[in-house]
């Protein structure tokens, strides 16, 4: 099975004949140029894709183009001769009547039956082996000959020069009174032809057009099918600006009195061919050929009869002429049947295994869609994740800066306190000493230095106090703090450490819309300190456990209690006796400021913190804040 995109048995060729005829009857409306006028391989590839898309239909086509099971030799039965009928059946029968008669007379054992066919009809008939002989133009013969192993019996000698070598050609006709002097002027104009595969017509003219720099796609081409006469009538009636016709067709019709030859002239004229207007060089004439299933005896007989035909009024046949020029022409047009381009072969293969191809294409399409979907999801997800990460990092940064402010404030306060103590002692001693000296030795020169010691100590303490006042910050802004969001964020910030230490961190807020009056950042800071304290304890003891955070509403006190509990062992008695003493950490690193800062933050928000142990071997810290009575959705 093969896809013959270049032969007349191609999918398009098989599908179109009826439509061509119909369209001819209904008027020349079928415009082929868009899809078929260009033979560039790119287009071909496009056709392969289209074929894949229409693969169901392709199967039918493929089956039709399947090499037929050859019928038995026809000796005794009717011998069918397929005849290309460019001007209709009657004309064809009349034209070849003498040849048929000669065959009937010379070979009585066979009954010859002519069958007038279109280009596609012949191609299909040859492909299916429905005919035994074929009488067609050399273009079609070259296209069909090799793939179907046709035997070349004779070449027509019909022109006045009586040479079979100079017979066929195409002419591009315009009306005599038309303004066109070159083919370029036809760009965009309506040009009619028989068929894109018509040899003595469009095919022969195509190289001329291309060498004149005209892309056939630029013409408003219409392929009207047989009979050829219709082209000339359209040209005459002004329905077309030009017609691509076989040479001598005009002259023949003129001889029949159908048209006036002086009303037309040829463009791209190469001089006359056998007295006829022509736009192309001449190519060998029509060919009589036998299909391979025909017996050798019959073939030989037919060949002999053809070559022996003589006398006035009879058709004259000569020895077969080389179709090399035709083949060269086809090579130029990239149409040669033996020269299947790689893409075509790929197309053939794809179509042959169409169900695999279909599956692969569907798989590929599905894969592509899935890939696109995944990418989109990943992109969207990534963006959301990124923004969450950014928000979290921003929050972390804010908290870190608040915490470092708290730490520096707490350190300054502690330092101020600790320095104040010795200063107080100094002052006390100085004053106490002075008082004693005053009594014992009122004139002592030491009295003045004692006073000065006391005053200097007071001055030092004053500086410290000033610095402390300066460090003191404005009280935090009190706002409504929804606890769900607060706990969720606090837990999210601790997440990396929690995961690393494999701690189960749970939290719950009851009721879910519970809110406190406080400062959100301060509360995050406090919760962060408490969670980190717990994690420090777990880490120090290298143990695994849980942290639970519960926020509840205490209706009696109209306050919110947040309980942070763990099972990391709890506080020892000494620590519990003075939990808020700074610079007294039970852990190796850190300053033990977490609880001190937490207490200060809670106090500054008008809340409180209580520290203790619960019965199950862990710490329990309770944070109290006034409940927010504002409506959750103001």
């Amino acid at each position: 099975m093969r896809l013959r995109t270049k032969t007349l048995s191609s999918s398009s060729g098989l599908r179109v004949p009826h439509r061509i005829v119909e369209n001819h009857k209904a008027g020349p409306t079928l415009i082929w140029n868009k899809r078929y006028s260009a033979f560039a391989q790119g287009r071909r590839f496009l056709r392969v894709i289209v074929a894949l898309a229409l693969i169901g239909h392709g199967l039918a086509v493929a089956q039709m183009t399947q090499r037929p099971n050859q019928p038995p030799p026809v000796d005794g039965g009717p011998v069918i001769i397929g005849i290309l009928a460019p001007r209709g059946e009657a004309h064809a029968l009349a034209q070849w009547q003498s040849t048929l008669q000669a065959l009937d007379e010379a070979i009585p054992r066979a009954s010859f039956e002519p069958r007038a066919l279109t280009l596609e009809g012949i191609a299909e008939a040859v492909a299916k082996g429905r005919i035994d002989f074929v009488l067609t133009n050399p273009g079609q013969f070259v296209l069909l000959g090799t793939p179907y192993a046709l035997s070349w019996l004779a070449t027509l000698r019909s022109n006045p020069a009586d040479s079979a070598r100079e017979a066929l050609g195409s002419v591009l006709l315009v009306r005599e009174d038309a303004p066109y002097t070159s083919a370029q002027q036809l760009i965009g104009k309506r040009v009619v032809a028989v068929h894109e595969q018509a040899f003595g017509g469009y095919l022969l003219l195509l190289p001329q057009l291309e060498s004149a720099g005209i892309n056939p796609g630029e013409l408003d081409l219409a392929f009207l099918g047989y009979p050829v006469d219709a082209l000339l009538y359209q040209l005459r009636d002004g329905q077309a600006e030009a017609a691509i016709m076989p040479v001598c067709m005009l002259e023949q019709m003129a001889a029949e009195g159908l048209v006036a030859p002086e009303d037309y002239r040829a463009l791209m004229s190469n001089g006359k061919l056998g007295g006829c207007l022509a736009s192309t060089p001449a190519y060998p004439d029509w060919t009589f050929a036998a299909l391979p299933h025909v017996s050798e005896a019959l073939t030989a007989d037919v060949a002999r009869v053809l070559l022996d035909m003589e006398g006035p009024g009879t058709t004259r046949w000569g020895a077969p002429v080389s179709a090399a020029r035709v083949a060269t022409l086809f090579d130029d047009l990239r149409l040669h049947p033996l020269q299947e381009p790689l893409l075509d072969r790929l197309g053939d293969t794809l179509q042959r295994y169409w169900h695999y191809t279909l599956f692969a294409v569907l798989l590929l399409l599905g894969g592509l869609l899935y890939h696109a979907w995944i990418q989109r999801q990943a992109h969207r997800h990534g963006r959301a994740l990124q923004s969450t990460q950014l928000a979290l990092r921003e929050r972390e940064r804010e908290l870190a800066s608040a915490q470092s402010l708290s730490v520096s404030g707490e350190l300054a306060a502690t330092l101020a306190h600790e320095l104040n103590q010795p200063l107080a002692a100094i002052r006390h001693y100085a004053e106490g000493g002075r008082l004693r000296l005053e009594r014992q030795a009122p004139d002592s020169p030491l009295l003045e230095p004692f006073s000065r010691i006391g005053r200097e100590a007071a001055r030092g303490a004053g500086i410290i106090e000033q610095a402390r006042q300066w460090i003191r910050r404005e009280p935090p802004e009190i706002e409504r703090v929804p606890l769900k969001g607060l706990l969720r964020d606090a837990v999210a910030l601790a997440e990396p450490r929690v995961r690393r230490l494999a701690i189960a961190l749970d939290w719950k807020v009851r009721p879910a819309d519970l809110a406190a009056q406080g400062n959100r950042l301060a509360m995050e800071q406090v919760l962060g300190n408490l969670i980190n304290n717990s994690l420090d304890a777990f880490e120090a003891d290298r143990r695994v456990g849980w942290i639970r955070i519960d926020a509840e509403y205490d209706a009696e006190l109209a306050q919110v209690t947040i309980r942070v509990a763990d099972n990391a062992g709890g506080f020892d008695a000494e620590r519990l006796s003075q939990p808020f003493m700074p610079l007294d950490s039970s852990r190796a690193e850190g300053l033990g400021l977490g609880l001190v800062i937490s207490r200060r933050l809670m106090q500054r928000q008008g809340g409180a913190i209580e520290i203790g142990n619960h019965a199950r071997g862990g710490a329990e810290i309770r944070l109290m804040l006034p409940a927010s009575t504002e409506d959750a959705n103001p």
């Binding site: 104040n420 103590q421 107080a424 002052r427 004053e431 006796s577």
Partner: protein, 197 residues
């Protein structure tokens, strides 16, 4: 210091407390030192008029907590709060609780002396009030009525009329009330009674 009373010094920082004791002794005061609030509450005679210097920041019971317990126990102590940091809120709070002064470390001799003088007066007031209340507690209901009337400056005649008793009876009761309350005369009785009523 004249009219001095003992001074309790409650401070967890032994170094500072020792210095403070040195200063207070320079003022000829008797100093009783306690390093923990709990120890002070348990060991000191809180009914004996005295001054107490409370450090605000202590482990365990801090200055505020100790002060709170002293109030609850009707101690006869004048309270001076000492703090490392002059926190206005804390100061106001302490004064509301009845502290006589709120001093910031390092405190000078003079400021301390003045605060202690006030604290002594306050302690004596507490003691007097406590004594008068104790004596008033020994009066009968009728005597209490007559004492109240005297303190309001009523004559014997007026009292007799008000209570529907004989003037003579009023005179007898009145003499007994003056004696029981330890007053020298009716004017002194009136002054004493006004302090507790």
């Amino acid at each position: 210091m004249i009219n001095a009373l003992p001074v309790h010094l409650v401070d967890d920082d032994a170094g500072v407390a020792e210095a403070c004791r040195y200063l207070l002794e320079g003022l000829d005061l008797d100093v009783i030192y306690w390093s923990r609030g709990e120890d002070f509450l348990a060991g000191a005679n809180l009914q004996e008029p005295a001054a107490v210097i409370l450090d605000m920041r202590m482990p365990g019971l801090d200055g505020i907590a100790v002060h709170e317990r002293l109030r609850a126990g009707s101690a006869c102590l004048g309270v001076v709060i000492l703090t490392g940091h002059g926190d206005v809120d804390l100061a106001v709070d302490a004064m509301k609780r009845g502290a006589v002064d709120f001093l910031q470390k390092p405190v000078g001799a003079e400021a301390l002396q003045q605060a202690l003088a006030t604290a002594f007066d306050r302690a004596r007031d507490y003691a007097t009030h406590r004594d008068i209340s104790a004596r008033a507690g020994q009066l009968s209901d009728r005597e209490r009525e007559i004492a109240r009337c005297v303190s309001q400056g009523m004559t014997n005649r007026a009292i007799a009329d008000a209570l529907h008793i004989a003037v003579r009876t009023v005179e007898v009761h009145r003499a007994r009330v003056v004696e029981k309350m330890g007053a020298a005369n009716s004017a002194e009785l009136a002054a004493l009674w006004q302090r507790i009523d």
